[in-house]
């Protein structure tokens, strides 16, 4: 999982501190105690058990489903994306197991900035998607005028750009 901030900083800060100095040793420095005999050995061999990895499901009792309605003007042609997956054009309805993880969605519509929102699966919900043009977004907190161009409707190319 993503490393907690505290832990991430413990690893990353020393590296950042060093790179900021812009100094790279010109010649590799021999490790005093790391000769051939001290080289790290390969990791343990694969286990013989077939059930060591976590089970896929958590055995929660079936709590039914929830319906999440995403409302937007159909003329906007707003595509609702969950990661790579295009769930369709809003308005649409998502059905999820009740109590399952929240979904981080990206809404992409022509001439509008991508909108990132989250839907929760605790209960039935209706969410009105407020999409912003570049001009409208200028009133939002954090806005800086060096904005990137607004997106077009998602295409294969658009989606593939997100695969990094």
């Amino acid at each position: 999982m993503k490393r907690p901030l505290l832990a991430w900083l413990a690893v990353a800060l020393p590296a950042l501190a060093c790179s900021s100095r812009g100094h790279v040793a010109s010649a590799p420095v021999p490790a005093p105690a790391a000769d051939a005999s001290a080289a790290p050995e390969p990791a343990a061999p694969a286990p013989v058990y077939g059930d060591l990895e976590p089970a896929a499901s958590d055995d929660r009792p079936d709590a039914g489903t929830v319906k999440i309605k995403l409302i937007a003007d159909a003329r906007r042609q707003a595509h609702v994306l969950w990661g790579r997956k295009d769930l369709g054009v809003a308005p649409l309805e998502i059905v999820r197991p009740r109590g399952s993880a929240p979904m981080d969605l990206t809404i992409q519509a022509p001439d509008c900035l991508p909108l990132h929102t989250r839907v929760f699966a605790d209960r039935d919900d209706t969410l009105s998607l407020r999409l912003y043009t570049e001009r409208e977004a200028a009133a939002l907190p954090g806005y800086a005028p060096t904005a990137t161009p607004t997106t077009k409707a998602p295409t294969t190319a658009t989606k593939s750009q997100r695969q990094f």
């Binding site: 505290l6 501190a17 490790a31 990791a43 060591l52 089970a55 909108l115 939002l140 907190p141």
Partner: protein, 669 residues
């Protein structure tokens, strides 16, 4: 980013320098004692073995050399406690909150903090954050480590020959290694003049040469230990040797070291101090065994509804160790039920050694951890236990300095503290206050804060003193950022549906183990008499769990009283077990914030403030002023400019002091 975030909520503090002291008792790699054996269970506790029980009725019991399946209901009827060993376990305070499912997913290495599946091979090492590994995760560790890849892969003596291994960032490391080589050359050249070839003899002398020789020997020993640490991390499967440059504390090894430390509950945060060296020097199975002990302690304490962990005194043999008056007229020591419960549970499982644990996990395939529980004769609760205990809390702020910590020249002034903040839970019994646990906590102090003019100032963010109550316990609490909070940390990249995208960052708001309020919080409310009965005021102070475990070793909060996340869940589970309460449920927040970031629009939606329970009646909390040090007897009100900072205006900005500003989250319902 961290400093900005730190100004916003009680526990949003900057990570500090790592600390050395481990929470888990550090074991040394001494000669092994004679092989211990689990004590056989009492004949009266042995239940008939049954083979056709449905999963919900099953428990296990080890009788002699046999592990039997027994009827859990019959076990309870006989006064035994069934300790839940299944992967579905979570502390009882999480019951009712939807975050419970995320907790169990994190514990079982199944999902991330948002409940999304982990990538293949990814692991959560979250014990220090309050989420102990599930038994199926420990099973994996035991069964892999039992294959012995590490058995002879490293030299424990070399690891224990040093007190620490100093580490640096990449460029400093190069310089230090170069200095070491140069020192070695100088010493080689100087040996003929010194009349000895022996560095040790040289080090025992006086003067610069001796100091150089000592330092050289120390450095050499650290490099030897470093090489062993490399082998150790690789053999445990935490470091990919192909991505690591031998001898360098590079990102690959630093990441592996942090994983190792978090896996084994060592609080060194990638530094290689004594506690880390001791853990590295142990065989993996020994570390696994310690982890199993910690996990079973937590399970047994929750199953028994216990809290006493021996923290109220330094040693049970100390005559000053707290006692309570028994019905027999004698004084009895407040027990350490944590140790006793763990021992009883391990005994009931027939586990006394790492090898016993391997045998146990070999007997039980992964699927058994869907239902597994063990019937245990837990210690008899002390006589002051009941469903409605007369509990109270005292928080001693310890040594408090109100003086501004810089002099007129901007030089930081030392403000040493001998007495640190402590939280003590008491039960009133036979007219006496009996301390049950005493834990380190945090109090507020001088903190840098982002003011409304966009610049940072110092401000004394104290902890309220005087009588308060815990009236609401909030599970999976949500911190609602004030409108002025900076946006820098409000987005993050994460994997969603198989690809990485930028999303709104809910880590700091929660619910979650990284949230500003941890996984559970109690609101400190001031009770005032009103014409229609008592009225309650929330001044933004909470006692809450915290992911920022190093802060519990002496840093300041923004006024809140932090606890380790696991202890916070333990104490509030205990309170719910032994007090009357009413579930209010999820309290609506309806918070929605829209902001722009790098050409995209983000919505932060926080539908609830968390899952609330109301204690009936509330628990009294007394916050003691502590020992005020220095010259000032009251805190300075308002902002104080930071030394060395040029401000746009000489006029100090107005300081807000709302509960949301002090801690976030606003008022209690």
């Amino acid at each position: 980013m961290a400093s900005l975030a730190a100004s916003l909520a009680c526990d949003r503090a900057k990570p500090s320098a790592p600390i050395e002291a481990p929470r888990a008792p550090a074991l040394t790699a001494a000669a092994p004692p004679p092989r211990p054996r689990a004590h056989p269970i009492a004949a009266a506790d042995a239940l008939p073995a049954l083979s056709d029980l449905p999963p919900e009725r099953r428990a296990i019991q080890v009788v002699g050399s046999d592990e039997n399946q027994v009827d859990a209901d019959a076990a309870r009827a006989r006064g035994l406690t069934t300790v839940d060993l299944s992967d579905a376990w979570a502390p009882s305070v999480l019951e009712g909150a939807s975050y419970r499912a995320v907790f169990t997913g994190l514990a079982a290495d199944r999902s991330d903090g948002d409940g999304q599946p982990l990538a293949a091979g990814e692991r959560n090492y979250l014990e220090l954050y309050g989420i102990p590994p599930a038994l199926s995760v420990l099973r994996r560790r035991f069964l892999i480590d039992a294959q012995g890849a590490c058995a002879r892969a490293f030299d424990a003596d070399a690891l224990l020959a040093v007190e620490q291994i100093r580490t640096w960032g990449a460029s400093t490391e190069q310089k230090e290694l170069a200095k070491h080589r140069a020192r070695g050359q100088r010493l080689r050249a100087a040996r003929p003049d010194a009349g000895t070839d022996d560095l040790q003899a040289l080090a025992e002398g006086d003067g610069k040469m001796a100091r150089d020789a000592k330092e050289h020997l120390r450095f050499e020993a650290e490099r030897l230990a470093f090489a062993e640490a490399e082998k150790r991390l690789a053999c445990e499967g935490l470091m990919d040797a192909r991505k690591h440059k031998p001898g360098a504390y590079d990102t690959e090894m630093r990441t592996a070291m942090l994983d190792f430390q978090q896996k084994h509950a060592v609080m060194d945060q990638a530094d290689i101090k004594r506690a880390t060296l001791e853990a590295l020097a142990r065989q993996p199975l020994d570390n696994d065994f310690d982890a199993l002990g910690r996990v079973l302690t937590e399970r047994a304490m929750h199953a028994g509804g216990f809290i006493e962990d021996g923290s109220v005194g330094s040693s049970v043999s100390d005559p000053a160790y707290p006692t309570y008056l028994g019905a027999d007229g004698a004084r009895h020591r407040v027990p350490d039920l944590a140790t006793a419960s763990r021992e009883a549970t391990m005994n009931a499982l027939g586990i006394a050694t790492p090898e016993d644990a391997v045998a146990f996990f070999r007997r039980h395939p992964r699927d058994d951890f869907r239902w597994l529980r063990v019937a245990v004769r837990l210690p008899t609760p002390p006589e002051y236990y009941s469903r409605t205990m007369d509990l109270s809390v005292e928080i001693d702020r310890g040594d408090v300095w109100y003086d501004f910590p810089f002099d007129a020249a901007g030089v930081r002034q030392p403000q040493p503290r001998e007495r640190f903040p402590q939280l003590t839970l008491f039960v009133k019994w036979r007219g006496e206050r009996v301390p049950l646990v005493r834990w380190r906590t945090t109090v507020g102090g001088w903190r840098a804060e982002l003011a409304s003019d966009g610049q940072e100032y110092y401000r004394f963010k104290g902890s309220d003193v005087g009588p308060r109550v815990w009236r609401h316990i909030v599970t999976a609490p949500v911190w609602i950022p004030p409108a002025t909070s900076p946006l820098g940390s409000m987005t993050k990249e994460k994997r969603v549906g198989g690809t990485y995208v930028r999303v709104t960052n809910y880590d700091e708001t929660g619910p979650g183990f990284l949230s500003a309020y941890g996984m559970v919080a109690a609101i400190h409310e001031e009770m005032r008499k009103g014409p229609d009965g008592p009225r309650f005021f929330d001044n933004g102070i909470r006692t809450h769990g915290s992911f920022d475990y190093p802060s519990l070793r002496g840093r300041f909060s923004h006024g809140c009283h932090r606890l380790f996340n696991d202890l916070a869940m333990r104490i509030f589970s205990f309170v719910l077990d032994h007090r009357r309460w009413r579930a209010t449920g999820n309290v609506a927040a309806g918070s929605r914030r829209v902001f722009w970031s790098r050409g995209e629009v983000f919505e932060m939606r926080l539908p609830t403030r968390g899952y609330y329970r109301e204690l009936q009646p509330p628990i009294p909390v007394e916050v003691l002023e502590g020992r005020v040090k220095g010259t000032l007897t009251k805190p300075i009100a308002g902002y104080v400019p930071k030394p060395g900072v040029k401000y746009a205006s000489r006029r100090l900005p107005t300081m807000t002091d709302t509960p949301e500003d002090r801690a976030g989250g606003g008022e209690a319902p």
